[in-house]
Each structure stands twice: as C-alpha cells, then as structure tokens.
Subunit: 139 residues, 2 copies
DNA sequence: GTAACTGCAAAATATTTGCATCCTT
DNA sequence: AAGGATGCAAATATTTTGCAGTTAC
C-alpha cells in the first residue's frame, strides 16, 4: 500500500509527503469518486488548504481527474494507469451517479461509444454521465 | 418575445414577474449555456439572491436544466419544448465545452448514442460532454 | 542547504436563510 | 385581500492567497 502510493508520486516526480500519501491511499481504497468534502472527512488530520492544493497538484499531474456531475459537486477519481502515462487524460468508461445514495461509480465495463462532431470542432476529452438508481439502492 | 416568456411561465403555473421574464429572455437570446455569474452580469438590476432563487425555481419546474462540466462551474440552459411537457428532463444532444473560450454549446445535431448499463442499474438521465476547441476558436 | 510543502490566518467568493415589504392574481 | 416573490442584511460555506515554519531530497 505504502509502496504503491510512493510509486505513483515518484512516477509524477512529486516529493513524497505524508499528506499526499494519505490522500492517495484514500483514493486507492475508495470504491467511488470522491468530493472534496469526503476527502476532508477521511483525512481530517490535514488542513483543508493542504487538501485543496494536493488535489490541484494531482489534477495537474494527471494522477486524478474530475468527473462532471449534474448537481453542483465536483468529484475526483484516480486515473487509470494508461491515463497517467499517456500525457493527456481520457477515461473511456461511463460514470454513474446514483440519485439516491449520491455515490459516483465508474462503470468500467461500459465504454463510451464514439460520436462524430460537426466540422470544425476538435475533441480533447469526452465524458458520459448517467443518473439513476444504482444496483445497491435498487435492492 | 415578451409573449414567449409569459407563455413559458404560465405553462409552469408560475406568476409573471419582471425578474423571471428578464432571466428567461436572457436564456432565449443566449447561444450558449450560462453560468450563474453570466446571468448576474446580464441581469444586474436584480438582486443576486433573486437570481439564485429564480434559477432554482426554473430547475424545479423543468424550464432549465444544468449541464455537467469538468471544471467546477455549473451551466444552465433552457430545456427544449418536449422536455418541459414530458415531466422529467432529458436532453438528447451532446454538449461541447470549449477549453479556449469557455463557452458551453449545445450540439443539437449530435445525439447521444444508446448504451447498455449493467444489470441492476436504472437510468433516469444521460449526459455527454465533450471538451475541446470550438469552431469559432479554431478559425 | 535549498526548494518545495504545509499550516495558520485572513481575504475573497459563493451560497443560504430570515424577515419585512412589495407585487401578482 | 392573500399568497407568493423580491430585496436587503446577515449568517454560512467554500475557495484562494500570503507568509512563516517545516520537511524532503
């Protein structure tokens, strides 16, 4: 666990600090995408400002990415391996937002279908977000 | 113009007030989705709180909807006609977010392809957002 | 030792709530 | 006239910035 977080930080040539390791561990053990607030609760020993700055750093380095949501929250999730190395980010799977429990899930098995943009537009990134009720809440 | 805004408000059984008409007019004449801030600038004669409350009312009645974005902004856009009458909202087109000019455009001609969710998930709404450079900025 | 990172304080922004007044129906 | 909508003031919440002290390399 510690090894994995340190590897990720080294790969991105970031210095290894306890707050960064802690936040990475939170992401690694999370089954859903996390809001700033979630991380604040799970890493309460660290200053809120540090969390803001750490998330920003991770975003800049492509370690995490944001998932668009229809409510007014930003959720963060780890990028997959190929995502880190490939320079610019693209998650190829659909994200699911449960209206009942509020969790954001990566549907790793559902890939985003290709679309054709009108002439003159250049595509850098594509996101697909589905709202509804998740499996757990349906039971 | 005035007629159209009043019709929309009547259809949603909302009382006709000058702030609501103004904000609707802004949406009707906007070519892009708007952030709260944009509306504040365009309707500066009205209190910021009124704008918050008006947008929330319009959301509740399904007159406007939010468009998910990857940055931390919420953008609002008018729902299409069938959207208002059909009870619950679904835009069927792709949204484009220009990384250069920051505008959010509705690509009315690009419809969202169907996807299949894993067993146990129920879909209520689907959103597709593309980031990149828009036609105008490419020229 | 040096550069980068963190925590604290505080500033700047954004959002929500309560209440008295005004407007729509 | 009655209920709802607005504006103002103020309370909260969120995000950003500056700076001094600390830590990683």
């Amino acid at each position: 666990m510690g090894a994995q977080t340190e590897f990720i930080l080294k790969t991105s040539s970031l210095s290894i600090t306890s707050s960064r390791k802690k936040i990475l561990e939170i992401f690694l053990s999370a089954s859903t995408a996390l809001a700033h607030q979630d991380i604040e609760k799970l890493a309460e020993q660290y200053d809120r400002v540090t969390i803001y700055r750490t998330l920003q750093t991770f975003l800049d380095r492509g370690i995490i990415h944001t998932i668009p949501t229809t409510d007014n929250t930003i959720k963060y999730a780890l990028c997959s391996d190929d995502c880190i190395t490939s320079g610019h980010h693209h998650d190829n799977h659909v994200h699911f937002l449960c209206d009942q429990c509020g969790r954001t899930l990566c549907l790793d098995d559902v890939s985003i279908p290709a679309i054709t943009l009108p002439k003159g537009y250049s595509m850098k990134e594509i996101n697909m977000v589905v709202n509804g009720i998740c499996k757990t809440c349906m039971e």
